[in-house]
């Protein structure tokens, strides 16, 4: 028996074999055939013969497909009109689904804001020292010192004789300069001000580095032992209303002539200075130091011939110090200039401007994470709404849109969304910039964005990232939505698209995994910071204020301060308790293995220091005021020296001295590093004065000290520092990371929840009828609530399975950087999991409760 419908359907199937035919054109052919058959039947044909005749007249499909295929390749003249239509539809969707558009754009905006901010930060960090024209050929010479029983000891400073000798001996080293850090008391018109950030350099300095001069002559500066170059900032400070060139200024009692003005050092230079002296001035005062190979105290920079190969040069110079000093245990190598700021090696006596590559990496990863989360939001919300748009897709396909056009349409939409988000993100970045600067200790300004070169670069970058984000976020929805079969969408009243639900769930899991990792990270960083701050340093840093006075007046000054109200005790030393960087390997004692070289750190103190700083004595006694050749050592030194009865033993440290006491270990460097051997001397008149004060007098102590200061030094400004504040600055990088990671974690969780919120509202919308029916059949509100929340809670639980181990592993790795670290307690993870679950549940609950208490009549009325 002939079945017309069946025959037509199988005839239509022939078209589907050819990609050239789209849904619209196949439909058109079908209608043609049906019209024809109808006419033929009206003329008296049977169904069968009518069908056969119509098909015959319609002709062969293959040549048609060939023709249509060529049509596809023709560029459509409607393209522009179509794009216009896409934009129109996009805007219409904006207006029609405001909350959806809001969730989408808001999520993307937060994501992009963070990416922009982190981008600024990272590009600044990576851009350090890039402004030097010779950057590719510039290197700093650094040391690896090897001591018995101790790990490699990397040192950034070098001996005086190194730079000239390297330049002379190795033809590849075309230029070399010493850079010694300096601080002087500036005296002008009776006023004395202490200035630090001075440097002393050799003539190659200005040829090697790109620090431009504004005025004056470099040549005459280097011809003059008492020449001085000021940066613009200092020049304006001392000579606000006249040309400083040729003016005299006293530095530590010596007259200097200003011979040049240099531009202020850029913020992104690891080398920073505010004035420059001729290194020859130093040598004139210390002629015996010119050939010194023993004492490491200044930085050596060299410039290589561009044709030279770094490894080859390194192999040649490695033993250069040993060749000039037989007892040396020091190898040297060249460190590229651009590696200094973010270098991984933790050098002793590093320059003060130093970044951490680890944090740069962490921030990049966090930025990508957050961008990914917001893109996932976009994908999830778009595909979840696909049912709503299925009809639109169906209709577009029926009227001839092919898949590529639909993909272009959806990508257009996502790119438009992203562009809106980008504009918003830029506005937010502009608003946040001041607080961001505070957070990161950087100086980004809006002016930078308008700066032609940087602004254009940034503009291109922003547009590019918007485009990529748009494509990334729109890719899946585009491919997914365009694959919808129109027949499914146009027939039925209510379409539910189950497709893609699995992937959506997976994406939610990914989002929450990332968020929980960030939460764990934040908690661990916070805990570790607290731990650092409360760690037992072995001395007390609380309620201590300190200052510097000239050595000859230090005893009198200290005695006077001791008599003031609120002062508990006063001690002096020649080192900062948290930065003891002077060290020597030349100390010997009876029983020392002569082949072993051991590095000792040392500092000089007065008889009040141990008690004032609350150092703990393990054996022996504190210094007496009358001690002249007594020393104390720390436990680590005792361990390395291998002495059984240290008290009374003699050690040759700058002369024979007797050990009178052993101190418990205390931290005299950053607590990133472990504790090293230490020897403490009594020295006459140390110039750092430490004042332990009564906490109740905290507010008055500075004023009290000021008065004493004025008595002693009427012409100089007083300067006081709080010890615990210094300590906090040492961990600025950690604190910065802690603050930033807190914000990032909050935002990541917020964006994830936003996405979850959107997904839940959508899922509930889809189940409105189901909920209505369940209610009518007697389901209780709590029962419905559980039903609605279980699905999403499960996703969060799955994400915990992944995120907690990953968080544990990566945070353990981070903690390994610290000599003192917390153990990862289970509670951190329990807490992080609880936060994630709570927030997710809270998000889901709002919608679930709303849906559960709704009157079922409203849900069912539509049928």
């Amino acid at each position: 028996m002939f079945n017309l419908e069946k025959s037509i359907r199988s005839w239509l199937k022939l078209f589907q074999k050819h990609r050239a035919f789209n849904h619209g054109s196949i439909r058109e052919m079908e209608l043609h055939l049906r019209d024809h058959i109808e006419d033929l039947i009206a003329e008296g044909h049977s169904e069968k013969s009518a069908f056969e005749a119509a098909v015959k007249e319609f002709g062969d499909i293959k040549p048609m497909a060939k023709e249509e295929y060529w049509n596809l390749r023709l560029k459509s003249s409607l393209n522009r009109a179509m794009i216009k239509n896409y934009l129109k539809i996009t805007l219409r969707n904006f207006r029609k689904h405001k909350s959806y558009a809001f969730v989408n754009i808001f999520g993307l905006t937060i994501g992009l804001t963070i990416v922009l901010l982190i981008g600024l930060f990272v590009s600044d960090e990576l851009g350090f020292d890039q402004f030097h024209a010779n950057k590719a050929d510039l290197y700093r010479v650094v040391e690896n010192q090897y001591y018995a029983g101790q790990p490699v000891f990397p040192v950034a400073v070098t001996p005086t004789a190194l730079a000239p000798s390297l330049h002379e001996e190795y033809p590849e080293i075309v230029k070399a300069t010493r850079i010694a850090i300096d601080a002087d008391e500036f005296e002008l018109g009776g006023n004395k001000i202490m200035e630090n950030e001075g440097i002393m350099v050799d003539p190659h300095f200005f040829e090697m580095f790109s620090f431009p001069m504004i005025d004056g002559s470099i040549a005459s500066f280097f011809e003059n032992l008492n020449g001085l170059i000021l940066t613009e900032e200092l020049a304006n400070k001392y000579f606000p209303d006249k040309n400083p060139i040729g003016e005299l200024i006293r530095l530590n009692g010596q007259d200097f002539e200003v011979m040049g003005i240099a531009e202020d050092v850029p913020k992104n230079s690891h080398l920073s200075f505010r004035y420059i002296k001729n290194f020859q001035n130093y040598l004139a005062g210390n002629p015996d130091r010119a050939n010194n190979w023993l004492s490491n105290w200044l930085y050596t920079y060299v410039q290589l011939d561009p044709a030279a190969v770094l490894d080859t040069v390194n192999n040649k110079v490695i033993g250069h110090i040993k060749a000039n000093n037989e007892s040396s245990v020091t190898d040297i190598y060249l460190q590229p200039l651009t590696d200094i700021y973010l270098g991984d090696v933790d050098f002793t006596v590093e320059v003060s401007r130093k970044g951490e590559m680890m944090y740069v990496r962490i921030f990049i990863v966090v930025a990508l994470f957050i961008l990914l989360i917001s893109c996932i939001n976009f994908m999830n919300l778009s595909t979840a709404r696909s049912a709503k748009r299925a009809k639109e897709v169906g209709l577009r396909k029926t009227v001839g849109a092919n898949r590529n056009q639909l993909i272009v349409q959806f990508l257009t939409e996502s790119v438009v969304f992203t562009l809106v988000a980008v504009v918003l993100a830029i506005v937010i970045v502009a608003i946040l910039l001041p607080s961001f600067n505070q957070l990161t200790s950087k100086e980004f300004s809006l002016q930078m964005l308008v700066d032609p070169e940087f602004g254009i670069q940034l503009g291109i970058l922003v547009l590019f990232s918007a485009f990529i984000t748009g494509l990334l976020a729109g890719s899946y929805p585009a491919v997914f939505l365009s694959s919808i079969r129109p027949i499914l969408t146009l027939n039925a009243q209510n379409v539910t698209i189950k497709q893609g639900a699995g992937l959506r769930k997976l994406l939610v899991v990914v989002q929450f995994t990332i968020s929980v990792i960030l939460i764990v990270g934040t908690l661990v960083v916070y805990k570790q910071l607290q731990f650092i701050q409360d760690v037992d340093l072995g001395y007390s840093k609380e309620h201590v204020i300190y200052t510097f006075v000239p050595s000859r007046q230090s005893t009198a000054f200290a005695n006077e301060v001791r008599n003031q109200r609120g002062v508990v005790s006063v001690a002096r030393s020649n080192r900062h308790p948290a930065y003891v960087l002077s060290s020597s390997s030349g100390f010997t004692w009876s029983g020392k293995d002569p082949d072993e070289t051991i590095l000792f750190h040392y500092m000089g103190i007065d008889e009040h220091y141990v008690s004032t700083m609350e150092l703990r004595i393990r054996e022996g006694r504190d210094f007496f005021p009358t001690d002249t050749s007594a020393v104390m050592i720390n436990e680590r030194a005792l361990e390395i020296m291998g002495l059984e009865n240290p008290l009374g033993q003699t050690i040759d440290a700058f002369g024979d001295r007797t050990i009178v006491g052993v101190l418990e270990n205390f931290n005299f460097k950053s607590i990133h590093s472990g504790i090293e051997p230490m020897i403490i001397f009594m020295i006459p008149r140390p110039s750092r004065v430490y004042i332990k004060y009564d906490p109740a007098e905290e507010e008055n102590i500075a004023a009290t000290l000021d008065e004493v200061w004025k008595e002693f030094f009427p012409n100089a400004e007083s300067e006081y520092y709080f010890l615990d504040k210094d300590f906090n600055e040492m961990y600025e990088a950690e604190q910065r990371t802690s603050r930033l990671s807190t914000y990032f974690a909050i935002l990541a969780v917020l964006i994830s929840c936003l996405g979850l919120f959107g997904l839940v509202s959508y899922a509930i919308e889809q189940r409105t009828k189901e909920i209505g029916i369940r209610k009518v059949l007697g389901a209780s509100v709590p029962r419905l609530f559980v039903l609605l929340t279980t699905d999403f809670t499960k996703l969060v639980l799955v994400s915990l399975l992944v995120s907690l181990p990953v968080g544990w592993f990566s945070m353990n790795k981070w903690l390994d950087n610290y000599a003192y670290r917390i153990d990862l307690s289970i509670w951190i993870f329990v807490f992080a999991a609880a936060i994630a679950l709570f927030i997710a549940l809270f998000t889901v609950s709002y919608q679930s409760v709303r849906a559960s208490v709704r009157n079922p009549v409203n849900a069912l009325r539509n049928d």
């Binding site: 619209g24 439909r27 209608l31 043609h32 007249e57 002709g59 499909i61 023709e67 049509n71 009227v399």
Partner: protein, 112 residues
């Protein structure tokens, strides 16, 4: 019977000509062509559609789906202003060919 080549060459002006008289859809256009040629032009119906789609892409015609009452939806084609220009240039060319042929085969009539 009119040869295949000639049929193919004349498709474009014929379709545009028909649409100039009023909007129409595929099946009706075919029917009209068959009517006008008295069945002398050999067409397979299906080959009309690629031509229509090409004309649409070129911008000579545009289409829209129309549903009226209970009847089947139809994809109606309409000639665009640029299509009208194409048609008049086609007409001119066909006229020229026609006049050449007439002068050759019917010299008297042509010289008059």
């Amino acid at each position: 019977m009119i040869s295949k080549n000639l049929t193919a060459a004349s498709t474009k002006p014929i379709i545009l000509g028909i649409l100039k008289q009023g909007n129409s859809y595929g099946y009706l256009i075919i029917k009209k062509i068959k009517e006008l040629s008295g069945g002398k032009m050999e067409w397979s119906d299906g080959m009309l559609y690629p031509v229509l789609h090409r004309l649409e892409k070129e911008g000579s015609i545009k289409s829209k789906w129309v549903m009226e009452g209970e009847s089947r939806p139809r994809k109606y084609y309409e000639i665009t202003p640029s299509g009208k220009k194409v048609l008049s240039s086609e007409m001119e060319q066909w006229m020229q060919v026609n006049s050449v042929i007439e002068r050759l085969w019917n010299p008297k009539a042509a010289s008059n």
